[in-house]
């Protein structure tokens, strides 16, 4: 056996074994549950020291990790499958850490705004984060725009909303925000304003997972608006509250019947407000369908 034969045999055996293992190993890694988890992130104080002169890079890497995690979950969202609830607490902690490392990173504020408000309903935390960002990104009109929306739509604090929209208008020079500032001085057309807000974000979004998220929410709000218009026609015809979605469909005012893209059911509350059992979330829709399995009828 020549000197080269042994290493050559070893190399061939190695390549064959590697080729045979590659398929099962890739499948194993693909389905590994830990891939779904956000994992442990050391405290921001430690990261700040350990990341040395790479704070911006570490911040961006943490945000990328969250986006990939969220993107993976969004790709599998299907109303017919039990949805896994994202680890919102972990996502929030990681975003806070990333923004402590790089307080200028817009992706962090943008992403936090998208889930802290609609999904987790942590408006105070979202607004605090936006306020923090405004101290650094002094030129950016998006942050006051988001804060204005949160104050008006979620918190019903119209004076505060008007202040933020005024600031967004001054920074962007866009007359739309000045007009929104005026509109938010009074509570009116909340659904319309949500549609304007979501349409604007959806249009400028290029991350497909987040864009899909906005598209679904936008579709849900458009359905809500359709029901609201039908309800208004119903009331104009001299009829009174309460009214049900089924009654609107039977009266021919609502055609085709509304469909909640989250898999929930729309209903009209006693005061006429249109809501959905999904609360604009896949996880909520699943919880609701499990809770009232076998309970037909519409809520009032």
């Amino acid at each position: 056996m020549s000197a080269l034969q042994r290493p050559l045999l070893l190399l061939i055996a190695g390549v064959i074994s590697y080729g045979a293992l590659l398929g099962p190993f890739t499948t194993y890694m693909k389905h590994k549950p830990v891939e779904e988890k956000l994992g442990y992130v050391p405290s921001v104080n430690l990261l700040r020291y350990v990341s040395a002169d790479q704070k911006e890079f570490v911040g961006a890497a943490l945000l990328m990790k969250i986006m990939m995690y969220f993107g993976g979950l969004m790709d599998r969202q299907d109303p017919n499958v039990i949805a896994e609830r994202p680890d919102y607490l972990g996502m929030s902690n990681m975003i806070h850490t990333a923004l402590k490392l790089d307080p200028y990173n817009m992706d962090g504020y943008y992403f936090a705004q998208s889930f802290l408000t609609w999904d987790v309903k942590q408006y105070a935390i979202a607004n605090k984060l936006l306020e923090y960002g405004m101290k650094y990104r002094t030129w950016d009109w998006y942050l006051p725009f988001f804060a204005g929306f949160n104050h008006a739509f979620f918190l019903k604090e119209y004076k505060k909303a008007a202040e933020y929209y005024q600031r967004a208008g001054e920074l962007s020079g866009e007359p739309l925000y000045f007009s929104l500032a005026g509109r938010y001085m009074q509570e009116s057309g909340q659904t319309d304003l949500a549609i304007v807000y979501l349409s604007m974000l959806e249009k400028g979004e290029k991350n497909q997972a987040v864009k899909k998220n906005y598209q679904i929410r936008l579709a849900a709000f458009k359905e809500v608006r359709r029901i609201e218009l039908a309800r208004d026609h119903y009331l104009k015809a001299g009829r009174a509250l309460p009214v049900t979605v089924a009654a609107l469909i039977h009266s021919g005012l609502l055609s085709p019947p509304p469909a909640d893209p989250y898999g929930g059911q729309f209903y009209i509350e006693a005061d006429g407000k249109v809501v959905t059992t999904s609360r604009f979330s896949f996880a909520e829709a699943k919880n609701d369908s499990r809770n009232k399995a076998g309970e037909p009828g519409e809520r009032h």
Partner: protein, 264 residues
């Protein structure tokens, strides 16, 4: 001196270090596609990744070239033949340092040019919300190179007293890590809560360490480059002067120690 610088540069190129850097520079080609994953700041992420990659490559070069240059010469007994020539040890040491420093500047120029092209490509595909501040990006690359030249000086200082390469390598890495956080520690010690919680002796000791270690955070201009934040010209001038003074001190100490070192 010029011949030592020239020999150092030739040695670095002969060791195919530059080819290694060029191979690593292939990573720049992937930056625009990696940055496109960002939701709202693609160009900013391109700048972040480009500057981080340059910084990482320069750190490796500074630590390994700075720590091994003198040690290798002593180990291979090159110093015996070189120093038998009419050449002082100080000239030899400073020549070696200047050769490595020039190579770092050359690498910064090469990698910086590649990164500017990458950033330009990203900004053309995804225009940033604010106009790019090219001078800040260039300044960030240049000051990063200065920072790593200080690390080279520290590594060479340690190499003059060390009999193995462990002390210069780990010493340079530790000094680099410590040098990037001294300012944060110093700022924290000035806060009222730290003054209550930490004893005066510890605070004074930390202050001495703050002045002894290089303050490398002053050379980090990445935030200015990434988010187009205006640079402070007088601050930059002070930082450049700090670089000259600190490097001179390190080299002077290294030269004194090297002059007194017994070489077989």
């Amino acid at each position: 001196m010029a011949s030592i610088i020239s020999i150092t540069l030739k040695g670095i190129f002969r060791d195919r270090i530059f080819q290694g850097i060029m191979a690593l520079a292939v990573l720049f080609l992937f930056i625009p596609s990696a940055a496109s994953l960002s939701m709202r700041q693609v160009t900013e992420l391109s700048i972040t990744l480009s500057l981080s990659l340059i910084s990482f490559i320069q750190l490796l070069l500074a630590v390994f070239l700075g720590a091994t240059a003198i040690w290798k010469d002593i180990e291979r007994r090159y110093t015996s033949s070189v120093l038998s020539l009419p050449l002082s040890r100080t000239t030899y040491l400073v020549g070696r340092f200047c050769g490595i420093a020039l190579f770092l500047l050359f690498t910064a120029l090469f990698l910086g040019s590649v990164s500017l092209l990458v950033i330009k490509a990203s900004s053309t595909m995804y225009p940033p919300s604010r106009p790019l501040h090219w001078s800040a990006i260039t300044a960030a690359i240049f000051f990063d190179a200065l920072k790593y030249i200080i690390v080279v000086a520290v590594a060479m200082l340690m190499a003059t007293v060390s009999t193995s390469f462990f002390l210069p390598i780990f010493g340079a890495v530790s000094t680099f890590l410590a040098g990037t956080i001294t300012q944060q520690v110093y700022d924290y010690l000035q806060t009222p809560s730290a003054q209550k919680a930490i004893s005066e002796v510890v605070r004074n000791a930390a202050q001495i360490v703050y002045y002894l270690l290089p303050n490398l955070s002053g050379f980090d201009l990445k935030v200015h480059a990434i988010y187009s934040i205006p640079l402070n010209t007088s601050g930059l001038l002070l930082t450049a002067l700090y670089f000259v003074a600190y490097t001179a001190i390190m080299l002077a100490i290294a030269a004194i120690l090297f002059e007194r070192r017994e070489l077989k």
